[in-house]
């Protein structure tokens, strides 16, 4: 192993290299493009033996990746925001065809108005697409999760998005422990299934009538539910080899005897840890629940984390217009019928508006001091 100073983009690129991706396809977009360029450089420098399909748009990027996956190759792509929206049709198609493509996503706000700054709106737009969605809190986790994503994808036969925020993570350097190739090879051996194979001709995606369609969807959802077991299992296997345990679906931080839980995902988690430490030092019983797997949503694991708290504050870097924050809504849905407790949901940090330790602390204070909520969710930082 060697420790390197890497941006989140580079961490994703190193993971793709270590996973020995066979086909790469992408269309440049800000702020995801440094990850793309880094992998292309690995290929050009002869450090990575990968076929690169230089497509003319994001939609074709995922289409080419899909063709490659159907022909049995380990396939990777990178995108975000408008690119992800443009891919949306193919996103659902990939998931329905159960192809284990891994995509790094440098989360960015959606237009309009035009923004190139971070938030989770792009990922949330794909919440029903059938992709597993994992969120990372730092650059080490980006590398480790991307490696794990290949194992999860190929085990579940489902595509996986590895989310990290634009600039905050994609362009910020941190120390990252880069694993040895041999150890990675042992963790993620090739598990090749070629749906398109001249030696075993099959018709893929034939017109499907009411007698079959719903059953396909049932099995697709079963695979997604099955990922709730596979994701923690892969995290454990990874921890055994590399010593870093990302816990799988959710992670509780200082949740022992916590009365107030903060629920967050992505870059907010790192800052929230610092806030929780500070509040604990002041004697306040605050803990943190990190959502690592947004899809499938770990409702049972989250409920178990929240089994003894008196209140929950959810930080949402996204807005579903007229309905609130995605994480807040999912948290409430997970608790409904099991526990009755106040869940305060804050919409924050949209389009790159800064949310640091000070702001997270303010939201926690607001949640504790404001007994009556004006509505089901609040906007913070306007």
């Amino acid at each position: 192993m060697s420790v390197m100073l890497l941006t989140g983009s580079e961490a994703a690129a190193y993971a793709a290299k270590l996973a020995r991706i066979e086909v790469l396809s992408y269309y440049p977009i800000t702020p995801a493009f440094p990850a793309m360029e880094r992998i292309s450089k690995f290929i050009e420098d002869g450090e990575l033996n990968t076929e690169f399909v230089r497509v003319e748009c994001d939609h074709s990027a995922l289409a080419a990746a899909l063709g490659a996956a159907l022909a049995g190759s380990r396939t990777f792509t990178v995108s975000n925001s408008q690119g992800l929206l443009y891919m949306t049709e193919v996103m659902y198609h990939v998931a329905g065809l159960r192809q284990p493509i891994v995509m790094a996503v440098a989360n960015r706000a959606l237009s309009a108005p035009h923004s190139r700054f971070p938030e989770h709106g792009d990922a949330i737009s794909q919440d029903a697409s059938g992709w597993i969605q994992l969120f990372c809190e730092n650059n080490q986790e980006i590398l480790d999760t991307t490696l794990q994503a290949f194992k999860i994808a190929e085990t579940c036969r489902l595509p996986v998005m590895v989310n990290y925020e634009g600039y905050i993570q994609s362009h910020t350097q941190e120390e990252v422990d880069v694993p040895e190739q041999k150890a990675v090879d042992a963790l993620i051996p090739f598990n090749r299934i070629a749906a398109l194979d001249v030696n075993n001709p099959q018709g893929i995606n034939t017109v499907t009538g009411p007698e079959f369609y719903m059953d396909y969807k049932y099995h697709q959802n079963e695979a997604m539910e099955g990922a709730l077991k596979v994701i923690p299992q892969v995290a454990r296997e990874f921890a055994q080899v590399f010593g870093r345990d990302w816990q799988g679906l959710v992670e509780g931080y200082r949740m022992e005897d916590a009365r107030h839980a903060v629920v967050a995902m992505g870059s907010l988690v790192s800052d929230a840890r610092i806030v929780v430490d500070a509040l604990r030092n002041e004697g306040r019983q605050v803990g943190l629940v990190k959502i690592r797997s947004f899809r499938p949503f770990p409702a049972a694991a989250l409920r178990s984390m929240l089994s003894a708290v008196d209140m929950v504050t959810v930080l949402d870097k996204n807005i579903i217009f007229g309905a609130g924050g995605a994480l807040g809504n999912d948290t409430k849905a997970a608790l409904y019928g099991y526990r009755s407790l106040p869940v305060k949901s804050y919409i924050c940090g949209l389009g790159g508006r800064s949310v640091g330790t000070r702001e997270i602390r303010q939201m926690i204070d607001l949640a504790e001091n404001r007994v009556e909520q004006r509505r089901d969710y609040e906007w913070f930082g306007l």
Binding site: E51, V53, V55, C57, A64, G72, G203, G209
Partner: protein, 289 residues
């Protein structure tokens, strides 16, 4: 090229059991093309009649791997398949994206242009029935001038986009037109395309009885008239060298147009206009039919 029908394989890799209409030009084209392409071929077909008639539920009319893609992406998918085969060291497989006129010239054009510009080692086949037949026959860019469609009852007022010229403008090594009425010509062209390790484009005229308003047993005959009157020229451009592969007999264009329901509103002067255009194109004397 002296291809004989005796040289063709007996087996049909596409056809039996397909759900095409009677006299479906697209299905005929598929059957003919597979005589050239053979069993080591992977076919991607976007949303279209051809995708729909190729299989449903657990049945397929293809004896080779067939993937029904989204509407816009057949060439991009094919490019990805080629990349995967290259990555796995599989060199002897034809990768074909097979799209209708919409999946080629309209909604599918961006990914087609991308694959052509990259010179991906795939064959793109356009089977052209000149309107959006899988949705009842609306106008598209491949609909010819004056043709009546389901959403232009008075006939299209602009010309058919010249896809072969557009594809040749990409600098590709091989492009050809073909017609189901000339199967040996069609098969020879696909064999040439398959022998290359670069992007090839083959555009096949495939009449559709419903859209064209012709009897179901006339698909091949009408396609032949399109060729013989000069409106559908059979040619290829191989590494920049253009060659007409069949010399038409120049029957009057009226013999092609008049029997078709989609041209029922054509007046004599419009037919003459089209005859004049053919005459000019082939440098024939004005007025000579």
């Amino acid at each position: 090229m002296t291809l004989s029908i005796k040289d063709l394989p007996q087996e049909d890799l596409f056809g039996p059991g397909n759900a095409g209409c009677r006299g479906c030009g697209a299905a005929i084209a598929g059957r003919q093309a597979m005589k050239a392409l053979g069993p080591r071929t992977i076919v991607s077909i976007p949303a279209s009649c051809m995708a729909t008639l190729s299989g449903s539920n657990q049945r397929t009319a293809w004896q080779v791997p067939f993937y029904h893609t989204l509407f816009e992406i057949a060439p991009a998918v094919a490019a990805g398949i080629r990349a995967a085969l290259d990555a796995q060291g599989i060199r002897d497989v034809n990768v074909v994206s097979w799209a209708g006129d919409a999946g080629t010239a309209d909604i599918g054009f961006q990914s087609l242009s991308g694959a052509a510009e990259r010179n991906d080692a795939i064959i793109h086949v356009c089977y052209d029935n000149e309107m959006y037949m899988n949705t009842n026959g609306q106008t598209g860019s491949q609909t010819p001038l004056y043709a009546i469609t389901s959403n232009q009852r008075k006939g299209k007022q602009t010309c058919k986009k010249d896809m072969l010229a557009i594809m040749l403008a990409h600098g590709i090594g091989y492009a050809a037109s073909a017609s189901i009425s000339h199967p040996l010509d069609l098969i020879a062209k696909l064999k040439k395309a398959a022998a290359r390790r670069s992007f090839s484009y083959v555009h096949i005229l495939t009449p559709c009885y419903r859209g064209w308003g012709i009897p179901t047993d006339q698909s091949v005959a009408v396609a032949r008239k399109a060729v013989e009157c000069g409106l559908w020229e059979l040619y290829e451009v191989e590494d920049g060298v253009r060659r007409r592969t069949y010399e038409p007999s120049f029957i009057p264009v009226a013999e092609y147009l008049a029997p078709q329901g989609r041209f029922k509103n054509l007046t004599a002067d419009k037919i003459q206009e089209m005859q004049d255009a053919v005459n000019r194109y082939y440098h024939r004397e004005e007025g000579k039919a």
